[in-house]
Subunit: 352 residues, 4 copies
């Protein structure tokens, strides 16, 4: 079968591979829509997860089940499914501990284009199929559904980590596709004022549609100053970090109230240390809680988030700015993510 791969650090291209073998609980899926992610770009051009040879890229896909293992109960060939970016080993101690995304080791629930080939292929392999795929209803189109693989659950998890409560003032740093979903999730979780940090016009527009009440553009001064001005010097209750770098935590700590919480869902690819400013962290005494984590994967999560689309609580299709018809365009879509033109949020590639 054909796949679009990282050939080595810095190089991409098509490869020809065997169709994956199935264990008794696995499934084989033929993708019908895929979307490249910033982490594909980091994987290839920044070497974020180390070198890989001819590894098929991609971890966001919806598709049609092609085959299932002998012990798969709930899925059959022909079923239309969404597969999350994170596909844990559910029969692991980490899953029993409530951290399935780290099954088999830190971050090891992330298998696609990391520990095995990804979804930019004619077919891809899903482990623990009954636990890691979800049936897609007719009411949700492929483009919307593919946002469920990573953008929606990652954005939403930031809000869960920050533990937003009714009436909280929430700062969302970064309004790329993940941050935009964090804005939507904060509004859906009961935040009142939502301050979204960003500067690109179409992202700002969607942030507002998703519930941001104020936009903070770093061109107008430091984020700290703007947040403090907006909150009469009191700061915010919660911060979701969905962009920036290892120094972004400095801002988050400075603007969050004592007793406040910070949720990070930004993948930090560079730098030795995430810096927590000692003094503003109350010399270790301020109860400014810091959490950061990979999105929970699995079927239940997909079903829960999907039901929010069906009931029109969220509309992730607004993230999609570019659409390609034909598998051959996966390279164009990936390069688009690399080049980040101003009007880009997320591209989707449809496969017949």
């Amino acid at each position: 079968m054909k796949g679009f791969a990282m050939k080595k650090i810095g190089e991409i291209g098509w490869v020809e591979k065997e169709v994956p073998q199935l264990g008794s609980k696995d499934a084989l899926v033929r993708p019908t829509a895929i979307s490249p992610c910033t982490s594909d770009v980091h994987t290839v051009w920044a070497g974020a997860i180390g070198d890989r040879k001819d590894m098929i890229l991609g971890h966001e896909a919806v598709g049609i089940v092609e085959a299932v293992g002998s012990e798969v109960r709930d899925f059959a060939p022909g079923d239309r499914v969404v597969v999350p970016a994170i596909t844990p080993d559910w029969n692991s101690l980490e899953a029993q501990a409530g951290y399935s995304m780290h099954s088999g080791g830190m971050l090891a629930g992330w298998k696609f284009s990391n520990f095995k080939d990804g979804v930019f292929a004619e077919y891809f392999h899903v482990n623990d199929a009954d636990g890691n795929m979800a049936h897609l209803p007719d009411t949700i189109d492929d483009a919307t559904a593919v946002m469920l693989c990573d953008m929606v659950p990652t954005g939403f998890h930031g809000v869960e980590l920050a533990d937003v409560q009714f009436g909280d003032k929430v700062l969302v740093i970064g309004i790329g596709p993940v941050g935009l979903m964090s804005v939507a999730a904060a509004a859906l979780r009961g935040a009142s004022e939502i301050y979204a940090v960003g500067s690109r016009p179409n992202c700002i527009e969607i942030a507002k549609e998703y519930g941001a009440t104020h936009i903070i553009n770093y061109r107008n001064g430091s984020i700290e100053d703007q947040v403090m001005a907006l909150t009469n010097g009191k700061g915010v209750d919660r911060v979701v970090i969905a962009g920036g770098d290892v120094d972004t935590m400095i801002t988050a700590i400075k603007v969050v109230k004592p007793g406040g919480k910070i949720g990070n869902v930004n993948y930090l690819g560079e730098g030795d240390y995430v810096k927590v400013p000692r003094s503003e962290w109350g010399c270790g005494m301020a109860h400014k809680q810091i959490a950061g984590g990979l999105m929970p994967g699995g079927r239940l999560r997909m079903e829960k988030l999907m039901s929010l689309i069906e009931t029109k609580r969220i509309d992730p299709s607004k993230l999609i700015t570019h659409r390609f018809e034909g598998f051959e365009h996966v390279e164009d879509a990936l390069l688009l993510m690399k080049d980040k033109p101003k009007d880009l949020i997320k591209p989707v590639v449809f496969i017949k």
Copy 2:
């Protein structure tokens, strides 16, 4: 001063009383809008809290500060304020334990028209004024604001007790004014499908506007059967009980999934026992958690909920079906609550 009182069980009327004395941390407020509550009706005609003599009724009011005690820091005469129905003693062990509504004893944070005169008076007394009043911004009118005293926080607390999470299916039993706010809160907390139980047309209409996806009318069969049909026999993740009686818990237990949670904010005025069906409660083993509690009062709660109105996340003004101009109409408004005409949700009386 004049007040509208319960003269004894079953009898209401006007009384003349001294203006309340202020302690060092107290405030005196002149109401500008008040609203009678079903519990005023229970207090007078069902004797729900026992006999009282010439006790001024009412616990929902917004108004203007008339005077403050010597140690009040944040309020001054002339300030426009909302006062929650529950005004805890914040310097109590119960408040330190996180249950301020029970400061001084079970439910004893509820003081108005219970342990002291209520708000249907020319002036009323607020204990711990800095902690139990909140400044009202110009952007919120009196009618909307008076819904913050009890309807909004009680309805919202039901959803907090039921611990609604993203994508949960939620059953709200009862769509009077409190239940309607529970519907709004469930939607605002991230529920997907919301099943609202009720039959009155205007309540149904508002329930839908607030986010109910399905209406369950008991005239169409048992609630259990309808919920099970809607959920393919699986039941709901969460139940909020905002109406019914001691037998309503039977329904809630039957329709909630193992691992599900039930939040009760319905004041149960009659009956010896709330009944939990043994078998459907998994013989004590089903992890169907039952919580029930009085709304949290206090200033912070008012400020947080108020911010949801300011940012247009909720609009409790939809609850108001009847408006009266003039203090003298408090009796009409109360009798309306007693008689419950079909089109009634909440009346408000404006006082010049």
Copy 3:
């Protein structure tokens, strides 16, 4: 193979059956120590789970792995293991939701002597072996280890459900083997005063050794009166129910403070309704939370609890009052549980 079975309701005896077949993730275990449980008695003589024909009894066993399926990674024949009474299907939506004990349906994580043959056999079958067995270290003997299957995790879960915090006053109702482990768990979780309800001398003695500070004997008056006398009329912070019947909840509600929590781990075999007294439940408003649930099973739980034995935080061997050598004595042990002589807590049968 030979097994000791429930032949039908009210009748027990030996049966001859095929050795269980293994799926790819399963294991076959040869028990070396087993213990009958009160629920075996309920199953046979009260028909608690309905009729069964020739079903092998028992769900508490340690043993030696005899064989493993092709995909089992962490266990091999000859390994010494403990197997919890609850063996969930980890690749289920319920496990993903955090309620693995209800995988496949309410209570359906309980498979032994319920949905399949139990452990009173020459060999027994374990599903999801990597997730449902735990290696036993040499430092823990068989008799102590067999208490880990049900008595320890169930008793401990009561304390988790009641959410005991540092310095809490805790009432434990029932000091059979499960209740005794709840006493130990309450002490180990930071309770200060622990009131243990019981009357049998050896149970009282062990309750004190496990950390009970006061014994409440119902022969000395009602539990309510005694608790209220001991707490100056204030009641307790937490209640663990590990004995009694559907009316025991009445006592629990009466003695727990507003804001308090009740954890039930008593299997309620009879009665239509668990009764929550309306008035003492604050008319639905007292924040007296009620939780009840089946013990969490699985390997991680076994490992965590085992580590408490290894570090001498708990010593469940004190529960064992009767020891039998030889599989043929399983009937004696079971009848002992049925007859409940005064000096019985738990019997263990050792198998060569």
Copy 4:
């Protein structure tokens, strides 16, 4: 009255001041036992909270009530009381939010020898007396009780922040008096293996008595290496930081498992940034939660912890290595804390 004060940064001595005035809810206490704290040393010689002039030092005291304000209900002159180091303003928004220690601003619940004179005086002032003092029973002596002011609650809070669960492996970094109480608290909360980091013989001995199962001495290699060796490379479930500096977090992050939690109660006096190693923090994705906070103060907390002494769950008197008779020795005791002789844990000064 006489007090022992910080005259300016780097200088201590006796001062003569007016006896404090009482507001309506305040109390005046005459100390009978006091204890200097490392933070007194930091305050004077490191200028940790900035310059102060003639500020009376000390925040750990038990004593006798001398006078109470007109609205104090539960205390009277002659009552024997313990007063926590943190005495919040309970009628504040921060207390309503559950973070009373930050009432009035970050860390501002810490008033003694910070925003007002401390307890090293003939008399000291207590705000919100009903909420900030606790009656001392005869069964607890002064020396033990004075450990309740800061050492016990701070040590215990570390374990609460780290959220220790049954069977967790816990690393406690630092076994000065606070860290030793964290060891005791971890054992009391259900930890199995407790690794205590320290090198002083008497601290090591007490750590073992309090429940440490392993001692990690940094002279034997890095903490990371030792923890990893003890845990077969898996790391610990929880870390309590009760000593070290801004770089200690690096160690904590490295040794805690994904999904693990870190609780800091070490006052970080120097350094620009607390450093979180990016890679071991899973690039922001590891669910290694970081919390740090000032001890909760107030009466309820004192009562809860006191009950643990009364029921012999903890014995903080083991911390006391030096005893002085007579107020005049407060200087000796403070200098002892400054010089930290090898055998010192905590000194107590008794005042007749």
